[in-house]
Symmetry: C2
Subunit: 423 residues, 2 copies
Amino acid sequence: MIEPKVLKGFRDSLPQAELQRKAMIRKLEDVFASYALVPIDTPILEYTEVLLGKGGGETDKQIFRFKDNGDREVAMRFDLTVPLARFISTNREALAFPFKRYHIGKAYRGENTQRGRFREFYQCDFDILGVDTAYSDYQVLSIMASALEAIASSSFVISFSHRGVFNAYLSSLGLADRSVQILRSVDKLGKIGEQGVIEALKADGLNEDQCKAILDFISIRDKDIAKAIDRLETLAGPVEGIMRLREVLSLLQGSGIQDRYCLDASITRGLDYYTGMVFETLLDDTPEIGSVCSGGRYNNLASLYSKQEVPGVGASVGLDRLLSASEGSTYPSCDLLFMTDNEQARAQADPLARQLRQAGLKVDMYLADKKAKDIYSYVDKNHIGFGVTSWGEGRLTLKDFSTRMTYEDLSVQEAVKLVKECR
Amino acid sequence: MIEPKVLKGFRDSLPQAELQRKAMIRKLEDVFASYALVPIDTPILEYTEVLLGKGGGETDKQIFRFKDNGDREVAMRFDLTVPLARFISTNREALAFPFKRYHIGKAYRGENTQRGRFREFYQCDFDILGVDTAYSDYQVLSIMASALEAIASSSFVISFSHRGVFNAYLSSLGLADRSVQILRSVDKLGKIGEQGVIEALKADGLNEDQCKAILDFISIRDKDIAKAIDRLETLAGPVEGIMRLREVLSLLQGSGIQDRYCLDASITRGLDYYTGMVFETLLDDTPEIGSVCSGGRYNNLASLYSKQEVPGVGASVGLDRLLSASEGSTYPSCDLLFMTDNEQARAQADPLARQLRQAGLKVDMYLADKKAKDIYSYVDKNHIGFGVTSWGEGRLTLKDFSTRMTYEDLSVQEAVKLVKECR
């Protein structure tokens, strides 16, 4: 006998969790499709060199990598961004540019699992590749809002800033060469607070005035975005990014969705990667879970594989965080269950069950010859709303398990109407 | 620079393929849900011992296996059946029995890739666990029919037989101890023909009479299922499986779907695994691609992990085969494209695009400042049906790219109606 154990950091997805995930993914896919984003997929296994670059040996102990039976160095993908870069380099000719894609799939990291992180997790990314325009920045912001309206458990605010403006400001302070460190320190503002950031900046070797100047900048946070852009301009000067922010604001205002957004200059998204606008999203009810949709503009995605520069802008939806934020919701396995405890009853009920399915209901038939107690335990575990307690030629009696009301002698049409109204 | 190459036996899924796969999976999930099957998922990576059993070293060179960073022997799942057995052993208490689940996901085998097989492929399985009844056998047959009605590119026939009846017949011929070999030889009938099977059986050591007796049995193939069962009974005697076949036939007749099915005694499904009914499905238009939905009854799924016997019946949908059978279909990335070649035009068109999305259309905006030639190349690659060629306050002009007809000065409602009618 072998112990049926699961690897540390991995987990099964039970029906309730999987129903919830699938419902959320379907809503996201519908939003993405409404904006004409197309889906792609890439292999979970790739050449290690393709995923990590040639030097990627020492720093990447968290990656699942091995030699396959053909003695190739292979690794499991650890995100969907590197595979995207490889994908557009491999398939450039076949793709239609500007290329707008989404990609929902699993990725793998051998991370320390203590902080509720898992070694197998979902990524959900969408990106617009091939243009560097205000409209494409705006479109990503607007897809973010549509996506979260479809799936978030509460209202939300999308905050954005512009890395180019911040970098210009750092240059004016004579700190251009320390921007990577500074961005990382500033990125921790939410966790360590202003005082913490000041200490981190001092540890990076900044003096009092420089720290204060950076604090001035990252304190700019306003839902009156025009005002916030003016303040950024006062500090950083009339740089290109200021113009871009104003164009994006104008598009947001034109579509009437500007209330969803906030300019927050403390948002930097730690990664070197970003060159233009950067985005984050907090849920109003559970800000403590962190950003549930983040991204930004980058202008050199495929540099590892190709000399041709590919500008892009995109965001990543935090599926696992959003799922955890709506914990406690239940997902019925079906609309109604025929309470059958013997084979003869099933044979008699089957034509009615088929009719109800054809009318669009999800219909279950209890399949074991067991007692009422067992059937009710099945109902509870599956969060089923209605039971069919008796039936005859084209007629049935429904029991609403939540109200304990009974509806006798319904036609198929009446039953369908009743159940659909309660969905 | 690193070459953006993909591992042998692996492949990217480009937008057209992925749109097709997602459309097919969504239809399948709707069918499964209508029968109250619930989705589950399991990790792609498991302990090697859990997937292969303790002895599984030599024979399993096709498996992707390695030592992880924690020195654990791990392997990538090579099907969804072994993970299901492990899953129900791990989660028995949390699950509602009879447990009806479906599972769609990737699996991995380092197979020789010459025969159009891939090392990363989709599996789509559904099973009913916890009962051994005629109704559950019938329900799987009926889900198979509903699933294929939803996704198959042509009409189809589901053929079935019963392993228990065949085994009883082999016993009566004194061949019980050679059943595994014989079943495997018979399973090749479609490929090697009757004469080939006879030669294979002779090679297994059977004499002329025994070969003829087996040929008599496996030649039974009839859409008049009652007649075929009678002939099976004449050969094998009134064994338990005969009774089960009659009960299932009666259920198929009761639901009026018996024309979908055929009794074909040559179907054995090579694996030792099956104990009762076995199923296969051929498409009428492309029988040469092989069975597109196969399965059967097994009565000891979780024996590797648990002493408790779990009877089950299920089938596997051949997604990749069904996708290849409907090759040539095209999947538009959207319903219509605003033919915009500058940022000002995009800003002006955006409110209309939003209205059309809210009305349920998939709406694209061309995002680059390029020439008409480039826009038409984008239209072609994305198989887009309609273009918006001009627009003003709440009005738009549509061009139907397939007929080259132009529809001028439409309201949003008129445009939505026109496009939805052409979908």
